[in-house]
Symmetry: C2
Subunit: 268 residues, 2 copies
């Protein structure tokens, strides 16, 4: 079994959780009392991780929130990743996509420098933009199929030679998955697509964003994602980490996480 | 006129060049005599910039080659950008694409922290993934339409409701271009597409990669890209910066650049 999937499914079992905590720790909206600290984003992440690491199955920092802070932001991200317990996998949300020799460098950034367990990538440039990530056979790659934003409608749903563009992505990813290290990003606000894609690709793990602040339907995401013994990770970022912006932010995050876990346990 | 386009066209005129030098300064293939220096990538870039800044119209560092070096790599990139003369625009090749609040953070990374003049983005997630970059009205955004790699064939050429996917991107980008700060990436190995897209979108500036190491046809790229008074930037990376891997690398880069400029001047 792929080491990321092994770690993920063990964490899901141990912590009774399908929830991945999105560490989209926007410095502009952190609790005020942290703003004076030397590294407010790291202080915030540390407290969030300490409060949630026994109740989630993965963490997913989005690189944008760290890159916007310059080189120091990347230091913060590295410290954050090192603070995550080794039995909880780290998905680095990067959505990269570039030609082969360049994608190789992104793969080094993600897997060698930052030591992520998994990454998200964009499909637009095709196989050779994804291949360098796949060569890290112990790691895992989620390819964007259907995203959770409004702009998903612009291209992903175009009818291309008899099926929507996103289904071409699903079928290509299935055909490329010879080493069992590929999965799909399927946005929660599109529950019908989660169902349809699960039926088409029962073997591919799904990373499902868009629950919480983005309004996706949690029950349908879980129901359709887990059909046919499908592996799913449900990402919640703002709905957990910004549950409170007061001094109780970490406790509030743990409570919000447990509320998500409880709602999911009620349905299964 | 958009300030990036103004700077670009002035540099094209002053230096009689359509060539953008791609600073894809892969640390693994730098000249050996630089490897002992404290910051070999910066030493390399500095010499390349000093040798080429009177013969090119732009520089395009691809972020992957800097991110793979960790936080220090981002410092190197910042120093590199600061070393580029202010009258030569900097295109940051990032190919980002994420949901709105996240894309906003990438825009801050590119335009506020790194102070790029222009950026490349991926279209897969649609308008709201691009909008935050467009809000920097003084800056400029090139959207991937047709890329220069083999994997371009996987999705970009699919026939979607009567036209190829890349043409949907072209038409959407044209419709979004209300502030004159949008252009397209069109790969040189697809000359027929350069022609077809130029006829369809005469007003959109093209960034054309894939000449040189990737084997694109320079004469067709220039001929079709400049039809109808079209604005083009032809990117060459390895074909210039790695023209020699000896101690003469900077002089060799300047010579290679002038050879490209000469070939273009002969055709126009």
């Amino acid at each position: 079994m792929n080491p990321f999937i092994d770690k993920l499914t063990k964490a899901q079992k141990k912590n009774s959780s399908l929830i991945c905590v999105g560490l989209d720790s926007d410095i502009d909206v952190l609790p005020e009392h942290l703003q004076g600290s030397d590294d407010p984003v790291f202080e915030f992440n540390k407290a969030i991780i300490d409060a949630t690491c026994n109740g989630c199955c993965a963490y997913k920092p989005n690189l944008a929130f760290y890159e916007s802070l310059g080189p120091r932001g990347l230091e913060t991200l590295k410290k954050t990743i090192m603070h995550i317990p080794p039995d909880i996998p780290v998905i680095l949300d990067a959505k990269r996509g570039d030609i082969g020799n360049t994608a190789q460098k992104y793969a080094e950034a993600i897997f060698d420098d930052l030591e992520g367990d998994a990454v998200t990538v964009s499909p637009y440039m095709g196989y050779d933009s994804i291949e360098p990530f796949l060569k890290y056979e112990d790691s895992f790659v989620f390819v964007l199929a259907v995203t959770s934003n409004k702009g998903a409608q612009d291209f992903q749903y175009l009818n291309c030679e008899g099926k929507p563009l996103y289904m071409h992505v699903v079928d290509k990813v299935s055909s490329w998955n010879t080493d069992g290290n590929l999965g799909l990003v399927v946005g929660a606000p599109q529950p019908e697509q989660i169902r349809e894609i699960r039926l088409r690709a029962p073997q591919l793990p799904f990373l499902i964003p868009g629950v919480g602040a983005q309004g996706g339907d949690l029950s349908k995401a879980v129901e359709f994602g887990t059909m046919l013994d499908g592996i799913v990770v449900i990402n919640v970022a703002r709905g957990v980490i910004f549950a409170s912006k007061g001094k109780d932010f970490a406790d509030a995050a743990a409570e919000a996480l447990q509320a998500f876990n409880f709602r999911i346990s009620q349905m299964r």
